[in-house]
């Protein structure tokens, strides 16, 4: 080894790479290059000379074409395996110009069979100028049975005309759960360019709203296709290769279709929203927003008038009021004020305030909704009769920021995270928030308004039902979920959703029990604000709310019914039932419904009755064991 390291000067000279050595190496490189280029030239020779004739024939009419096979989109079911959304065949007429000669004659014949003026068809053709003569152009979608039979019978008279069977989305129950299920619509240029929809092309339909959008990934499946050889007339003579389309997966929602239907029915004629939830898991049992819309319009393409009437409707049918609508929570917010007061120790079970029907703060008078006053009230009576004066006092003792802390800890003011787009956040005001937002410091009197759910407070019906569920189940806040499971086209379960805990309402067991007693009295007490909605066989606990749209002017002596509709207060009712071991929680909001007790509570009671009497809860009897225990512990 040593001798190898030693190099004499001559040795070193001989072993250094000099230009002669490099020349030698380059000669080697030249040989490699020659070999590679010879391969290229031989390949050219083979393709162009040996196989040239064959390829020329293939290229003449462009004999090798691609046909795509659309995958059937996954179906959507409710929790009891009822089909809510399916696909139905639509027969579409297309023309391939290259094969349709003479075009004029073919089209006039076709127009006869379709029973439309041939000018209309020609117009469609001229609007698709520039499209390759080899590509089929869509002439008419979803033709009727008679036209289909006529075209099929005369297909040899109609060169270049083809019938394509396409699957069209079909929403079985018109207007039911439209906001939750959503709809499909044609992919637009921005979405195509955005890269979020790989494998999609112009003309494809994608989920644009609701569950159709949220679960697009699972529902869509994968496109397949065929490589075919066609003859000079464009008819397929041979299928060369086929890649089967992969059908989309089926989505099973958590909603109960019967309950959903009932909800839609009850909300008919009013603007508002209702949400029902399983308090033990956060599964959404029904979610409706009124007025609703017909999703089939979107699936089969709607006219301008239809779209305009949806857009300009003053009751905003396209808005999902259950998750996007932000309303002052009104008296339903007193639950928060009560629990904050109890937990902070500013009140306890024995604290009583005297309600003369108003509360003087500084030089202002804050009224109780009951002009004559409630007399002496404790916490249970205050909740049951919704005594404003009691909660003015509690709010005053707490201050706005302590109150806000409890509201936020209970999930208000932030999104629940439901898997539907554009959820509203709501709003829980703090002193710092107001200073930042308006520049004006917090006025202590505003705390009184906030304590009864007026003022700046905003909440969505979904947030309120989630809070109600937490009160019902002993304090656990679940993320609202709408997806129960995903199955493959052949029925294999690939995903099963699990409840997700997102927080805990900050309540000790005795305090929770006090609030729950108050909520029970709301419906079941002699003077409860919702005693009219009492059911004979099911005990309901709940809270009414009537939220002012604008603060009542002192000199406005008109009764609420006499005021213009858009100034009337919103009606709320939140409830759970049965009062012991609850199985359903609901939140109902009726826009400008005036009184929670008269406009919202009956709807809630009807929903609870429908759900519990139908015995829908049976399947949860086994699963729900732990929840019963939980409720028992906290009670």
């Amino acid at each position: 080894m040593d001798c190898e390291d030693y190099q004499s000067p001559v040795d070193k000279y001989l072993k250094t790479a000099d230009s002669d050595w490099y020349k030698q190496r380059i000669t080697g490189v030249m040989i490699c290059v020659m070999v590679a280029f010879t391969v290229l030239l031989l390949r050219l020779l083979y393709l162009q000379i040996v196989m040239g004739e064959d390829y020329l024939v293939l290229s003449l009419n462009n004999r090798i074409r691609l046909q795509s096979i659309d995958p059937p989109r996954g179906l959507i079911y409710d929790r009891n395996n009822q089909v809510l959304v399916e696909n139905r065949p639509s027969f579409d007429v297309t023309i391939t110009l290259k094969d349709a000669r003479p075009v004029k004659k073919t089209i006039s014949k076709l127009a006869d069979y379709l029973d439309v003026p041939s000018e209309e068809i020609l117009q469609k053709l001229s609007s698709s100028k520039g499209i390759s003569a080899y590509k089929p152009i869509l002439l008419q979608q979803d033709i009727g049975r008679n036209a289909l039979a006529a075209i099929e019978a005369h297909k040899y008279d109609l060169p270049g005309i083809a019938i394509n069977v396409k699957l069209l989305r079909h929403y079985l129950n018109v207007k039911d759960a439209a906001h939750l299920i959503g709809y499909l619509s044609e992919i637009n240029a921005t979405e195509l360019a955005g890269g979020k929809y790989p494998g999609r092309r112009g003309g494809d339909f994608i989920g644009k709203f609701g569950a159709e959008k949220a679960f697009e990934k699972y529902l869509q499946g994968a496109r397949g296709g065929r490589q075919v050889e066609v003859n000079a007339n464009g008819r397929v003579v041979r299928v060369l290769k086929t890649v089967e389309a992969k059908p989309g997966q089926n989505i099973h929602l958590t909603i109960d279709h019967d309950l959903q239907k009932k909800t839609e029915l009850l909300l008919q004629g009013v603007a508002g929203a209702a949400v029902a939830m399983d308090p033990g898991s956060g599964r959404v049992l029904a979610l409706a927003s009124s007025p609703s819309f017909d999703q089939n319009y979107f699936a089969s393409g709607m006219s301008h008038e239809q779209w305009d009437s949806l857009k300009s409707n003053p009751f905003r049918p396209m808005e999902n009021k259950a998750i996007q609508g932000e309303y002052p929570p009104g008296s339903t917010y007193k639950i928060i004020t009560a629990l904050a007061g109890l937990e902070e120790g500013v009140i306890d079970a024995s604290t009583e305030f005297f309600c003369p029907g108003y509360h003087r703060f500084g030089n202002r008078i804050y009224r109780c909704w009951k002009g004559g006053g409630h007399g002496n009230v404790d916490i249970i009576k205050a909740v049951a009769q919704s005594c404003d004066v009691y909660f003015y006092q509690v709010g005053q003792l707490l201050g706005v920021d302590r109150l806000a802390w409890y509201a936020k800890a209970s999930g208000l003011g932030s999104r629940t995270g439901i898997n539907l787009g554009k959820e509203g956040r709501g709003l829980i005001p703090t002193a710092a928030w107001k200073k930042k937002r308006t520049g004006i410091p917090w006025q202590r009197g505003e705390t009184l308004s906030v304590a009864i759910g007026q003022g700046f407070n905003l909440a969505t019906p979904l947030q309120m039902v989630d809070l109600t569920s937490a009160i019902a189940n002993g304090g656990t806040r679940y993320k609202p979920i709408i997806l129960d499971s995903i199955t493959t086209a052949d029925g294999r379960i690939v995903y099963q959703s699990e409840p997700q805990v997102i927080g805990k309402v900050p309540l000790s067991a005795p305090n929770l029990e006090l609030v729950r007693r108050g909520l029970w009295e709301v419906v079941n007490g002699d003077k409860g604000t919702a005693k009219g909605s009492r059911l004979a066989d099911i005990e309901i606990s709940g809270k009414t709310g009537t939220s002012q749209v604008i603060s009542r002017k002192k000199n406005d002596t008109r009764s609420e019914a006499a005021r213009p509709a858009h100034l009337r207060p919103h009606a709320w009712f939140i409830a759970y039932a049965p009062s012991v071991a609850p199985e359903i929680a609901v939140a109902v909001l009726v826009e400008h419904g005036e009184h929670g007790s008269s406009a919202a509570a009956p709807i809630a009671a009807e929903l609870i009755k429908t759900f519990l009497r139908a015995g829908r809860s049976i399947d949860r009897a086994a699963k729900g064991q732990d929840r019963v225990v939980q409720a028992g512990e906290s009670g």
Binding site: L14, K15, T16, A17, S19, W21, Y22, K23, R25, I26, V29, M30, V33, A36, F37, V39, L40, L41, R43, L44, L45, L47, Q48, I49, M51, G52, E53, D54, Y55, L56, L58, S59, L60, N62, I64, L66, S68, K129, G130, I131, S132, Y134, G195, G224, G225, Q227, L240, K241, T242, V243
Partner: protein
């Protein structure tokens, strides 16, 4: 200070060859863009013309200074290039799922293209210092390996598999050219055989698929397989004399994918037939031999190795691009020099030609 001998030794032949390739490239591109559906994309053609004039400037700059200065600047060029590559990963324009472009006002360039030049200079610097007829040992190859892998990884991250692979091929060709010591070479081969299966796991699904589809195009009859078939039909149907300029049917009906970039050779072969294709392939072969000839004539190692690097770049791009359109190579995005549309590629090719000229015209100054 201007040395008149520079003009005397100017490589007019190389300039002529490059001009011929460039002109045929523009003609083919013209044909490809006029046939674009639904409307001719003349903008692409004009943009390419502007790039060509920019490329001319770049070429003149590249041969106007003595290339031996690059020996001194090599480090700065390399580091500048790495900074650009990091920059593009952080702030680059993304298109089609990868970040490759840096926007400089109205134009955008791919730093990965320039990285090819930078790595050639860096390797030529290193190898020219210690070349030895025994070849480089593994330990001596450690530093160049680091030099190669930094830009390689950065380009792979964009992700731009084609350019990253090309970088490896160029660097590998230069390394094999300066010779690897026999035992080290065997070690390298063995460890490469061990590493390749591991790399397989790091490839994205679509990249794995491409390699599998290359081995068996039938695996993707609707995508790459279909493109290869259509490309082969286009090339084959050109037969001996071709369908004539602007008369290609495969091209006209947009049955060819990426017809003005990756698959532009298919347009050429369809319209100009075997005769035209062979002429263009031979032009490229002449360019490569011209380069190797310059390398042989250069009397000092830095110039020789640099020229071999540039020539290997042309070689690999031609072989991979044309091979791909004929179904001999995987479907990867490697441009055909001076023919495929793309500013950065034209610029890099011009700089490469400029380097060849630079070395060629100064070969006698060393005496």
């Amino acid at each position: 200070m201007f040395d008149r001998r520079l003009l005397q030794y100017f490589d007019w032949g190389l300039l002529g060859l490059a001009t011929l390739i460039g002109c045929s490239g523009l003609l083919i591109l013209y044909s490809a863009v006029t046939a674009e559906t639904p409307a001719p994309q003349m903008r692409i053609f004009y943009k390419q013309l502007i790039w060509f004039s920019g490329a001319l400037v770049a070429m003149v700059i590249t041969f106007s200074f003595n290339y031996k200065l690059l020996d001194r600047w090599g480090q700065i060029i390399y580091i500048g290039c790495i900074i650009l590559l990091v920059w593009v990963l952080l702030f680059g324009k993304s298109a089609g799922g990868s970040r490759r472009w840096l926007a400089l006002g109205p134009i955008s360039v791919q730093p990965s293209e320039l990285a090819k030049i930078a790595i050639m200079i860096a390797l030529a610097r290193y190898y020219s210092k210690d070349a030895h007829i025994r070849g480089f040992t593994l330990r001596e190859l450690f530093r160049p390996a680091i030099l190669i892998f930094i830009p390689f990884i950065l380009i792979l991250k964009q992700p731009d598999l084609g350019t990253a692979g090309l970088l490896l091929l160029i660097a590998g060709s230069m390394t094999v050219f300066v010779k690897i010591e026999r035992r080290s070479f065997i070690y390298l081969l063995v460890s490469a055989a061990a590493v390749v299966p591991m790399v397989w796991f790091f490839l994205r699904d679509y990249q794995k698929r491409r390699i599998l589809v290359f081995l068996d195009p039938d695996l993707d009859p609707l995508g790459a397989g279909y493109h290869i078939i259509q490309s082969k039909i286009a090339i084959g149907s050109g037969m001996i004399s071709g369908k004539g300029f602007l008369k290609g049917t495969q091209n006209a009906l947009s049955f060819l994918p990426e017809e003005h970039t990756d698959f532009i050779f298919s347009v050429l072969a369809e319209e100009w037939g075997f005769v035209g294709s062979v002429i263009v392939v031979l032009l490229f072969l002449m360019l490569i031999f011209w380069g190797l000839n310059i390398a042989q004539g250069c009397r000092e190692p830095f110039g020789t190795i640099l020229v071999v690097g540039v020539t290997s770049m042309f070689f690999w791009q031609v072989i991979i691009n044309i091979g791909m359109t004929m179904g001999l190579m995987p479907v990867v995005g490697v441009p055909l020099p001076f023919v495929s549309y793309g500013g950065s590629s034209v610029l890099t090719t011009a700089i490469g030609i400029g380097l060849l000229m630079n070395v060629s015209m100064r070969r006698f100054l060393l005496k």
